[in-house]
Symmetry: C2
Subunit: 782 residues, 2 copies
């Protein structure tokens, strides 16, 4: 506990201070010429206007949801009971220590705190990001090193704020709910699950709204500019070009920040819940605090790694260095220091079995590194998949789209193998840990949690690299629009290409962490059900796939993934169509725009996109929140499966069984689908870039570059992939976590409790079916 | 039993005789002018050449697999034990009645018989189909009624042969393996699972090879003809046009026939296995024979319905009747007679609880009808989804593709809801049946089996309508290429459009039946495991999703669905590219082709497509067969989960647990993915047709028809959808069923048996974990 008490606030505070220093460092730099500042000003205004508008909408939704969650939990829960261990079984006490109304209130407050922290991190991070772009553009006129330093530090503001607010938020609310409100520490994790739900809730709408905005603007600008009017990307004559630059920020920066904020929060809380079972037996609070400590070491490792990046960057003004190189070195440093931190944390906190969990953490760190390479293989131009799409572009947009789809589907292969291996290995390693009175199953699951936390140690670094993407993209746009010298544009183009890679890596990282975390979050849901039903934590609660409720729940879970993706993608298509019409209208209304004599109305395009995006985010968001609840309620009240655990038969279990099916099969489907959408989109994008860089030649050996039919086909493919990789895919990461947190918080809704619903197994009505019985049987038993 | 003894051979024989009469009736008709016969001859030769070549490849693969399966089963099985009931539990006897070597031999032979019957049905059916096309073309010069009659009867040859061979095959081999070899009737269903595996095996390669061929030719012909050269569909100057017409037959006719053959066979055998548990208690063989009897009544209903279609067709030569109308009337007749047959069969065979199963069958028939409407809503031009895609074509191919993808994903919604409802309702109805000594769970599952069989009663009719598609498509092509009068072409165009609808319906029907059957096939797999482990059939065997092996198996199952789809789609893209190059080459080499003075080399294009398609079918086929086996073996030998059932703990269960995860989560993913691919592709196709029929107008009110930019965009979308709906989607139906049959047959591979692997639950090593324990624990126990 001592380690946690001083390290966690120290690391959280250090991260926050570091973010402030980074912001100061970026803001004091040269902000370029008047022309650059004018364009940057438009981007800044458009981005902040969108974000304010979006957060107003989200705030209203979040307030309503917080009250609803608080009231529901308060009304239906039966209070939280303490946890007792008799050495062999870990079970719940008789008397509740937290009243139902108090549980509802605390859950509602935690929801709001989580939502607020998520929003705050997104807001400040983006505020700095849209001030960093013009400074990166100006720095590019000096050297590559300066440009990398500014853009990475601008991105790191977001990265460190997200990590700091998540760590301080989770540990702060844990401290308040346990120490200050004087609750036993082992029940506090159950009280703070609202924090994760609040964070997921904001992340869902932030990612959806931002993702729809960015791709509607991008698709619209590309189609009407590059394809129809034949003017280059970021050409100032295109009315959609500022909206496009705004979109990069609100989607990639604010959206992904919220995504990883909730990932870290939800996985942290889930891991703490799993630690409860071990704490109850051993009495060592370290098992609950461990995830927070590991995250703290991760922050320290990340600060050092990030500061070291400029050391590896080439200072020469005509440098030919690949900007990915210094970023990679920084990541290696983060990884090495993370291993050291993992060693200290496990050794200091996890008793005699520390080494098994150390190995679990290594598996997580290795999985993170593996995904960096897997994502590169599937989406970078130097490998087979992207080249295959480029080749298919020779025969037109249809074959490009067909092969692109095939590549997207293919990318599930290494993803599933890696996640599966990581899960099995960390589970096996964890189950080797020998802790008296704790079943191997529990330490195994805790092993997967340690792997997840190990992987997330480098989250701040990954997120810094991600936000680096929109900043450099913007910097390139500002230089293009303001007519900066060619050398500066060359540097920003190079950085932009790296930004595309880092954005893809972040998504791969997010999917992998979601895959690893799925298992631990699912176990937390089962622990919550055990708590409600009074089943000892050490008992197995089987979620039987051969049960019709679980099976149909699983079917609906996969359906949710597809329907949600459909709504997200369609939103982009619809909003994109609106912008195209607007730009065409402007071209028609004022021929001076095309001639370059009058300026298009950028603000109108920004505004149309914002309104369309916010309108379109509501339906998929409501679907994601509503479906698990509706399924749980319908199955609870119309079906009546029962489950036998530890000699007792629990009747009316259909509600939570069907929700478990939705949750876990939906999560598997969501992980695979997000992989398809993210990597497919990334591969399409880079196939286009591969052709633009002269990688494709005709039979006579002439380059099929920009303007060729093959290139036009590749542009179509890139456009198809845009909403896949930047709207639906990233929103699916959030959906997966939202499913986990919403089911965790609202579990009592799906559970029939009370003495009527338990009876000894094998009783007079037992006909051998065990798990499943009919309505007649059960009615007869009443 | 008496009913089954005379009805099943009678109905099977009637179906076969009916098919022969239909073939005679079609073949004696007018086969048109010399020009028509010449083109038809080329199609016939191309199709039969492909089929012969394909069947040679499949025959070799099937022989090798049959021997391997026989040897494996013979080597690892422990023989089949009889089933005994003591009124409360249904369990397996001590002494085996079938020796291991005999089980291997019988399984291998059943595999070969299943494979042979499937191949035979496909071969004869297609032989007649490619002779019916020219006769339909000729009949179209007389009247719509004649054309409908010929094409539907030509299609029905295939439909009835498939049903007859499946029914006679399953019942024949059941008779031989029980009566003639003198085995107890309750173990015979376990011996004939090889029949289903053989059928699935052939179906997989037939559907894959045919599907790749048809779409490679279609995509190639469309892109190089319509888009590049600007010549109409089926224009004789296009060298790929004959290959395209050949493809319709080998994909839709032979492929889909094999698909439904194995559906019916596998589901029949699965239903018989479920009937075994009830038979063992009641001693009524009817529970095993029931699925065969229901199918027999279905055949009678279908013959009457099919013969009545011409009665509803308009005889006037200038008829404006929608050809779908008489087909719908015929389907209604089939449905009504099926209900009557269902009533007789349930009443006569299923004891006092017959009415519950009658209701289950009604649910199945209603589900079949529901899917006819659901598929139409999602894929027909008169509804919102298709119009939305057509609208999106205004802004180019990218938005067309984006919205088309969104529509495809959306179609999972009603599909999942309907399948889920049908499963839950039929399960609940079935579990109401009160049969002494049989648990409600078992009658519930049997209820879902009856629903599946009820739905499949109309299979021959659906399949006749399906094969009607390629026949009319071919007839249109023959009329186009031979310069037939406009009135005839109008009729074949109309029939062709209907054929597109019926093809889409068949796929919806196939997906729905796969969804309903998933649950029963999965239960059959669990029964097989119980047989191996000596667990009573009446015990529940939980497949716990919270078990890491099941979870990772599920992840790999969904990955298999995506990877398989990827390989199938890519195969089309690759083969399609090869044909495009060939046609371009011919255009370049001989300018007379475009001028219309010389004939292109059709045979070369046919040949290139055939070779490419057969090469490309191997990899996805091997993946589908290999993955479940590899996963099962790896988990069996590296992991060691255990499962507690009925007071015993079964160790080393990881192999069959992981395979169960692959099977069931993969099935859920496969059903949803097939829906996406089939319906998405169908909607894209009809969006193009919607534009061609003048459904889209510009702002000034002018029709945006053929040749407009919107139409070009829609053609791209149609082309993208082609491999989705005709290659990957239909192959996924087969994959799902193959997963079920292969795991059923090879289950012993994944199961560790013997006394070492069972111990009483709650023993000294039991630490409360119940289902899951670590390697150390178990090693300690040995």
């Amino acid at each position: 506990m001592e380690l946690a008490l001083w390290l966690v606030p120290l690391a959280g505070g250090a991260a926050a201070l570091f973010a402030i220093w980074l912001a100061y460092d970026v803001l004091r730099r040269d902000s370029g010429t008047d022309a650059m500042q004018e364009i940057a000003g438009m981007i800044f205004e458009g981005a902040m206007a969108f974000l304010s508008r979006q957060y107003r909408t989200i705030a209203i939704l979040a307030l309503v949801t917080a009250v609803a969650v608080g009231v529901i939990v308060g009304a239906i829960s039966e209070g939280v009971k303490p946890i007792v261990s008799d050495g062999g079984t870990i079970s719940f006490g008789e008397e509740e220590v937290v009243e139902p109304w108090e549980e509802g209130l605390l859950t509602g407050i935690a929801f709001l705190v989580g939502a607020f922290c998520s929003g705050l991190a997104g807001y400040i991070g983006m505020f700095i990001a849209v001030r960093s772009n013009v400074r990166t553009a100006a720095a590019a006129q000096h050297s590559l090193k300066d440009a990398i330093t500014v853009s990475l530090r601008g991105g790191a503001v977001s990265g460190f704020l997200v990590v700091a607010l998540s760590l301080l938020g989770v540990s702060g609310i844990f401290l308040v709910y346990s120490r200050i409100l004087d609750n036993p520490p082992e029940i506090a994790p159950f009280l703070i699950v609202g924090f994760g739900f609040g964070a997921s809730f904001v992340a869902l709408f932030a990612q959806l709204g931002g993702g729809i905005y960015t791709k509607a603007a991008d698709v619209g600008a590309d189609l009407v500019g590059k394809v129809e009017a034949g003017i280059p990307e970021d050409d100032p004559r295109n009315a959609a070009v500022v909206a496009d630059l705004v979109g990069d920020n609100v989607g990639d920066c604010a959206g992904r920040g919220a995504d990883l904020f909730e990932s870290m929060s939800a996985e942290n809380i889930g891991a703490m819940i799993l630690g409860v079972a071990i704490f109850a037996t051993t009495g060592d609070i370290e098992w609950i605090m461990f995830p927070l400590v590991l995250r703290s070491f991760g922050i320290i490792a990340t600060i050092v790694g990030l500061m070291s990046v400029p050391l590896f960057a080439d200072d020469a003004p005509d440098s030919k260095q690949d900007p990915m190189t210094p970023l990679n070195y920084g990541y290696y440093i983060v990884s090495i220091l993370s291993v050291a931190g993992l060693f200290i944390a496990t050794y200091a906190m996890l008793d005699d079995s520390w080494h098994w969990f150390f190995f679990c953490g290594l598996v997580g760190i290795a999985t993170g590194i593996a995904f960096v390479y897997i994502t590169q293989y599937y989406t970078a131009g130097s490998w087979r998949p992207v080249k295959e799409i480029a080749e298919a572009s020779r025969t037109g947009p249809a074959t490009n789209a067909i092969i692109g789809t095939a590549v997207g589907y293919e990318t599930t292969f290494m993803t599933a193998i890696s996640i599966g291996l990581a899960l099995v290995i960390s589970f096996v390693l964890g189950s080797q840990a020998d802790i008296a009175g704790v079943p191997d199953f529990t330490t195994g699951i805790f092993g997967t949690a340690v792997a997840t936390m190990g992987m997330l140690m480098s989250a701040a670094y990954i997120l810094s690299m991600d936000t680096f993407g929109p900043i450099t993209d913007n910097a390139g746009g500002i230089n293009e629009m303001s007519g900066a010298p060619a050398s500066a544009r060359e540097i920003t183009d190079k950085l932009d290409a790296v930004g595309n890679t880092t954005k893809a890596l972040t998504k791969g990282y997010a999917v992998a962490s979601a895959g690893l975390a799925a298992f631990l979050l699912f176990s937390a849901y089962l622990d919550k059900i055990k708590e409600r039903l009074g089943i000892p934590l050490t008992e197995e609660l089987p979620i039987d796939l051969a049960n019709v409720d679980v099976f149909v729940g699983g079917l609906l879970g996969v359906m949710l993934v597809f329907l949600f993706s459909s709504l997200a993608i369609r939103a982009v298509g619809n909003a994109g169509g609106a912008i195209i019409e607007e730009v065409r209208r402007q071209f028609r209304a004022d021929p001076g725009i095309m001639a370059g004599t009058s300026r298009p109305d950028y603000a109108a395009a920004v505004d149309i996109t914002a309104r369309a995006a916010l309108r379109q985010m509501i339906l998929p968001g409501v679907l994601a929140v509503g479906l698990p609840v509706v399924v749980g309620l319908i199955f609870r009240y119309t079906r009546d499966s029962s489950v036998v655990v530890g000699g007792n038969e629990y009747l009316d279990a259909s509600g939570w069984l069907a929700v478990a099916g939705v949750l876990i099969v939906g999560t598997i489907g969501g992980i695979m689908m997000a992989t398809v959408l993210n990597n497919g989109g990334g591969a399409w994008d880079n196939a286009k870039k591969f052709i633009e860089s002269g990688g494709l030649k005709d039979e006579a050996g002439n380059v099929l570059g920009k303007g060729s039919e093959a290139h036009k086909a590749a542009v179509v493919g890139d456009t198809i992939g845009d909403p896949f990789k930047d709207t639906a895919g990233p929103s699916l990461h959030v959906l997966i976590k939202l499913l986990a947190t919403i089911t965790l918080v609202l579990a009592p809704l799906f559970i029939a409790t009370g003495a009527d619903n338990v009876r000894p197994a094998g009783g007079e009505d037992d006909d051998g079916a065990g798990i499943e019985r009919s309505i007649t049987d059960e009615q007869a038993a009443r």
